[in-house]
Symmetry: C2
Subunit: 333 residues, 2 copies
């Protein structure tokens, strides 16, 4: 029921995913009348229907509801039930386009944290010169301690190794410029902790410009900084795309040019389109929870489903848990 | 002597500024042999020579020197002497392309802070949908308190009012998304302080995407967040510009298209070029100090000179000081 368009986008995205993945089953949780009415209007192959189960839910979590209110009053919301389905092993993963804070709160309460992890983190990919990198935390926490930043680094390293099949991904710690006051205290302490942690491919500090340059496979930072960086880069991309549109429509000759250049411009836009990387992972929970962007359309919600499936196939939480228990036992040695 | 190219860029930029501003005088401080030798190779109008004074300096501050080392050992560097010239009223403003931390340290030590201001802040403009906005702090401080953020808001408000001739500029406080944990403690406290401060046109929290959307004339944040946001946006702009270049060179037809589209692409690049907004102000000092980007070329260094001249003409530190004394007296009432 979450996101700007609710089941109008999510239902067709699910039907399309069921066609793409013959082994996929989906529990679609929401207001049952609405789901059934929408389903009756959709075209779909009959054979996939056996793999789609509609599950009725209670009141939805609103987009501006406080997480504390959601977990108190909305246990039977589509979001609450979806996370519960993962906890009760009825589902391997939960995908939601709803209120991020509430989703996180349900995850912590119902799924619990992995042993050794104190705080969940939101991780997603951003485009770089040579492909993409991952950035975390994107807003699950503010005021992260050095120990939290270390935990983020470990979890992300395992995730990227598993999902991108990239052994020993490089990790950078986001910091301010060389010539400035050298970072805040948490970042300086985290630098020592991450450097000392065996098994991580730590390359040291990276700066804002290094993120999109692709200097590290994983960029670790506090959720405040990560959230602002991600959102401001989305804002800048929109600004540039608007300037390009204005530049190519100013007169008749330029409009003609725009028609010729459209395939090129379209291709660049697709490469940089954040919706292609839709699906942020809530790392650190005992289960897979993926957050789709609230404004996602059908195609874009599909990417979030793809990501959930990839993480299930690679057993990301299990692998993180295994790696963590290794660290914990080596520390107590 | 600062920046990547030292006097090779700064000297011609000064000669060009002396031509543009008939009332301008420049003290060019640096290694005198180098300056004289470079000057002898430059073409310039004889009449401007009477307004250019070469001043010999000692050892330069290196780009990676610690600020504490610079103020201990490099008092006679071009940077040290330039700031001193402002303190001793031989100059109305100092422009440097050197080590930012050292420049800040010389500013605090030699010029002193304005009464009521505890920390300097770096402010610069960024492009937006409707023109540009200003952002501060861009890296002078990490771990700014709520009181510091309030001081930044006051100083920026006076500066933008004076230099952009924009009465009552709107002020936003940078924060994370609505649905997330609502900001860190400093930001929540600063929100109360800025809201209560009379004479400020405060519009509340803004998010990362609002910066480039132009939601506020002034965006106030901690130096860590500001530095990372600015640098990551520069990195993203470079990424996009590279993708555009690659997109338009992939085959012969596209190269032909690129020639036709060049004026449009060039125009967009110019609009978004950060070097056009070169010249960050070190706000909060009892004097005008402008930091030029280290990689600035001649044209770009010229923009930093333009900014210094605009702030002198508008007497920015004097106006801030006046406004502050008003606030301080109204508070003690």
């Amino acid at each position: 029921m979450g996101g700007d368009f609710g089941p109008h986008v999510i239902l067709p995205a699910c039907l399309s995913a069921l066609e793409r993945y013959p082994y996929l089953k989906i529990l679609l949780i929401g207001e049952i009348d609405q789901l059934e009415s929408l389903l009756s209007k959709q075209r779909f192959v009959e054979s996939i229907m056996s793999r789609l189960v509609l599950v009725p839910s209670g009141d939805s979590v609103s987009m501006d509801e406080k997480p504390s209110s959601a977990i108190r009053h909305r246990q039977n919301s589509s979001m609450g039930l979806a996370v519960k389905a993962v906890a009760e092993k009825q589902a391997d993963a939960c995908v939601s386009g709803g209120n991020t804070g509430a989703l996180m709160a349900f995850g912590r309460l119902t799924l619990k944290m992995l042993p050794g992890i104190e705080r969940p983190a939101i991780i997603a990919s951003v485009p770089t010169m040579n492909g993409h990198c991952y950035m975390l935390d994107l807003g699950a926490n503010v005021d992260s301690s050095a120990a939290h930043l270390l935990q983020f680094a470990i979890m992300a390293s395992v995730m990227v190794e598993a999902v991108d099949n990239k052994p020993q991904p490089t990790i950078g710690l986001l910091n301010v410029g060389e010539e400035m006051v050298k970072g805040n205290e948490q970042v300086r302490l985290a630098n020592d902790l991450v450097r000392q942690q065996e098994g991580l491919n730590y390359i040291g500090y990276v700066e804002g410009n290094d993120v999109f340059a692709g200097k590290a496979d994983i960029v670790v930072c506090d959720g405040f900084v990560g959230n602002v960086t991600l959102k401001s880069s989305e804002g800048l991309a929109r600004l540039i795309s608007r300037r390009v549109r204005l530049g190519f429509t100013r007169n008749l000759y330029r409009r003609f040019l725009a028609i010729l250049a459209r395939p090129v411009l379209k291709e660049i836009q697709v490469q940089l389109d954040p919706s292609r990387r839709n699906g942020a992972t809530l790392l650190g929970l005992q289960g897979i929870v993926i957050k789709s962007h609230g404004s996602a359309d059908q195609r874009c919600f599909g990417y979030a489903l793809d990501r959930a499936i990839a993480e299930v196939l690679q057993n990301v939480p299990g692998r993180i848990s295994e790696r963590l228990s290794g660290y914990l036992s080596s520390r107590s040695d």
